[in-house]
Subunit: 392 residues, 2 copies
């Protein structure tokens, strides 16, 4: 450890600011999969990796990977470089840059390291998450899905996604640093936390088909208003989450067609995101909400379409790596489950995985107000460096 | 009357088909204000007006106007050429083309006629209706409103909208033919109906501001989900319409920001359309729904913004012109109120106004399935021609 962590934290935060300027939309941060903005962010990160003495490559799905040799076995670190729409600047990027800073600081390790900047974790563009880490672990990619402009995933891939697969042989593990995105560490007064498990999640697209009509002429009792049905269902989603401890249920997207003030909605497309640390509870809640949607559609003469676009089981972090990470983070570091999904979910398929959470202000994430403290970033760099020096 | 109405009806329907091909979107009919598609439709109608021996001009807001001289006084006829999104082909266009066919057929009238193809009645692009007829009667135009792309209304106008004003001196009246857009004539087994009054309407834009957050980390009880609040309110809008006879209340537009499956909605923008034949009942219902929105927002820690974008009083049609139209339409023609707004609302400010409704299949409108019978169109041409020969 040569350079003090506090100076490296300043660099990391400045780099987060620089990446925040690489966006699809002036004035706010939006960096979806396979956009020029994401490519620019990958170029910037690749440049910093080269400055740190790493060799850099982009794989078939656009992940940026920096590698430094050091021995026959390899430790993977990383997080993602894509963002949600109107995002904060730390979700994803901070983990890539803290990993890079710690690798640069911890010289002469007896193993190779690879730092991944994954190209898609949020799943905003194609409505399906983990495209980047999924390709690395050989998960089947939904190549026929199209984005809002009708572009197929298959057509934006650089080459055959099979080429992005990482050989699991000789991997020590995968470690990811990420902001908590929740209020637990702040409430505990702790800068860092070690993740015990990542909750499973089920994401679905839900379409209510009704009949469009003139808002001034079709009597209320003859309507088949798709939005009125969807709104009733949104109420049941919220109520389900409020009634069951540990259940998170969210309708984050909802679009109305045709979508004019004087036309009765003929169709609504909505998303449903259901999470719970217990797989059984998550699946049961999802099925109840699907049954409620069908009841509501039936009662209103609407037609329901339901498609599951993501279904991940809860993933337990590796106990050995997690204990090492906890020792590196200092005494009494909190252990907590993650309600948010992370690339570690996918990476755990090919290597033992562990995660370090960094406290964020107010638990706010997926929002421009996302914020982390300089001292907390320094603590994360310190902990990661100590971890690198201990792990074998 | 030279050419039989049945042949003219064939021409009118063929022209409706031709106009339906002039659209912003391949495969479906969408023709909003001041788009190339609307301009093309105006060019086509202007060409048919010239073939009918009329002189043609476009005014400052883009209305297409054909005039035929005939005497010191002038009768106005017309309807609109813009459409909703994914529209039917008869709403608006049919009235312009039936008027043109009747004028061409009724030669040697002792007064001048002008046929208007209004440029905006639906209000889809700028969220405010009657831009075309509003400019003709000198209504103030909301010049600072912007469309979905941020383009100001002021910037798409051809010249000062004051130039579109029609001098009311010497006007006999304004007559509009339009599909019913409701099921009443079909239920009565009548091809035509004479309109007694046009219901007033209030249109508002309603914004619920909450707080965006991560769908996997923010506990349900700490959320300020703008969509959950808006959905509860949509339920009250539907219930209000169901509870009060004669009240129509519709949320036709609703957009969610940021709008990603894993992000709690931070903001919802919705439209509200309230109609009733009684002005007092309409205003009371609108105020109740506003109060409900405020209660819901308060209870959820959301902020509400409410803007009234249109408020028109109920308009009674002119009894003299309506009686003449009823005689022209034949014995026992039904009289009915219109729940939909029409350019006649605006035109009644400068001239006595009357309207003739044409039966449409299933009452369906604002939908590609919109349909009229050939015989009913012929009946409308006959009635309008007889009206032209009788009115003075």
């Amino acid at each position: 450890m040569t350079m003090p962590a506090t100076d490296l934290a300043t660099t990391v935060l400045a780099r987060c600011d620089e990446l925040a300027g690489l966006t699809e939309e002036p004035g706010r941060l939006t960096r979806r999969y396979a956009t020029p903005a994401l490519r620019a962010a990958g170029d910037a990160v690749g440049g910093w990796m080269r400055e740190a003495g790493m060799t850099v490559r982009r794989d078939a799905v656009g992940n940026v990977i920096g590698r430094r040799e050091g021995g026959p076995r390899t430790l993977l670190l990383g997080s993602h470089l894509d963002t949600v729409v109107d995002a904060g600047r730390y979700d994803g990027a901070l983990g890539v840059l803290v990993a890079l800073a710690a690798v640069e600081r911890a010289a002469d390790l007896p193993y190779a390291v690879e730092v991944y900047g994954f190209a898609d974790e949020e799943g905003v563009r194609f409505g399906t998450a983990y495209l980047g880490s999924g390709a690395v672990v050989g998960a089947p990619l939904p190549l026929e899905r199209v984005d809002a402009d009708g572009v197929r995933l298959a057509d934006v891939l650089r080459t055959d996604p099979v080429d992005a697969r990482r050989d699991p042989a000789g991997l020590i593990g995968y470690v990811e640093v990420h902001i908590e995105q929740g209020p637990a560490l702040e409430e505990a007064g702790a800068p860092l936390g070690v993740v015990t498990a990542i909750a499973g999640q089920t994401r679905s697209t839900v379409a209510f088909h009704g009949r469009a009509g003139h808002a001034g002429t079709v009597p209320m009792d003859l309507r088949h208003d798709a939005l009125a049905g969807a709104a009733e269902w949104v109420g049941t989603v919220e109520a389900a989450g409020a009634e069951e401890a540990g259940l998170l249920a969210t309708v984050g997207e909802l679009t109305v067609e045709p979508g004019a003030s004087n036309v009765i909605p003929g169709r609504v497309n909505a998303s449903l995101d259901v999470r719970h640390a217990e797989d059984r509870a998550r699946r049961a809640a999802n099925e109840r909400l699907r049954a409620r949607a069908e009841e509501i559609a039936d009662a209103r003469g609407l037609r329901l379409q339901w498609q599951t676009v993501l279904d991940t089981v809860a993933v337990a972090c590796d106990p050995t790596l997690s204990d090492l990470l906890a020792r590196a983070a200092g005494p009494d570091v909190p252990r907590l489950a993650s309600g948010a999904g992370h690339d570690a979910v996918m990476m755990s398929r090919i290597a033992p995985a562990a995660m370090l959470f960094v406290r964020c202000a107010g638990g706010i994430s997926h929002h421009p107000a996302e914020s982390v403290a300089h001292d907390d970033v320094a603590a994360a760099i310190d902990a990661t460096t100590r971890f690198l020096e201990e792990v074998r």
